[in-house]
């Protein structure tokens, strides 16, 4: 049996590519449409890049889940970086401390069906997102 879960350590920009590719491969086993697969890949790319940009290292965990006759993908992205002091601010379109577009976090929320973020200053950040297969 093939594992229905992958865990990808994130340290460099090539890990970002490998995380989105492995997630896409895993998600293909459920009948996600190709545009949903592209959305999942884009969301993981944003979350993994935030690790490289702000937290230096962390992990992307992707698993296939089944719940009350629906199927989907669960992505948990965690780091032990500096944390985010004002989460509502970080979730605003256009807010960036690195002079970037500030669309990563709010964009991921739009792409996925559920979005949770926990962060503690000096301890790190965890983002948990889910996407269900449309039926």
């Amino acid at each position: 049996m093939v594992d229905d879960q992958v865990s990808i350590p994130i340290l460099t920009d090539s890990d970002i590519v490998s995380a989105r590719q492995q997630a896409r491969e895993l998600a293909k086993r459920f009948s996600f449409s190709s545009s949903e697969l592209a959305g999942i890949a884009a969301a993981i790319s944003e979350l993994a890049r935030n690790i490289v940009s702000y937290a230096t290292q962390g992990t992307v965990n992707v698993s296939l889940i089944e719940e009350a006759n629906k199927k989907g993908i669960l992505v948990i992205v965690e780091d032990q970086g500096p944390g985010i002091s004002d989460i509502p601010l970080a979730m605003q379109d256009g807010y960036s401390t690195s002079n970037s577009l500030g669309l990563g976090l709010p964009g991921v929320k739009r792409l996925m069906d559920s979005f949770e973020i926990q962060s503690e200053i000096g301890k790190g950040t965890t983002v948990i997102v889910k996407k269900w297969v449309l039926r």
């Binding site: 989105r20 896409r24 190709s34 592209a38 890049r49 970037s100 669309l103 709010p106 739009r110």
Partner: protein
């Protein structure tokens, strides 16, 4: 070079052939900036048919490339964006303002004529 750049008359054609890391995108930016000067190119077509994701970094880099090339007197055309990739890009809130796009290489080259 991860992204081959082909010279065709006064036009450069950069064809992305696999998933790119952030550093690959930055070297594409550098290479195009140099070659446009070196060959006095008037237009650059970037074929992104094989690009797996247009995330914030890729979008920002393509915008930078178009701005740099404009300052060096060359037009940039992005061709071949897959509908699924475009769909995710729009949901992320990403746009390519002021950059011309075309469906495929032929259409892109026509725009430069």
């Amino acid at each position: 070079m991860k992204v081959p750049i082909l010279k065709q008359g006064n036009i450069l054609i950069a064809t992305i052939q696999s998933a790119l890391t952030d550093n690959d995108l930055l070297s594409l930016q550098d290479n195009l900036a140099h070659q446009v000067i070196q060959y006095r190119s008037q237009g650059v077509v970037i074929d992104i048919t094989e690009l797996d994701v247009m995330d914030s970094f890729a979008t920002r880099t393509l915008r930078n490339i178009a701005n740099i090339l404009k300052l060096r007197g060359a037009k940039t055309i992005i061709v071949g964006m897959q509908p699924d990739v475009a769909f995710a890009m729009v949901q992320l809130g990403l746009t390519l303002p002021d950059i011309k796009t075309a469906r495929d290489l032929d259409e892109g080259l026509t725009l430069l004529k």
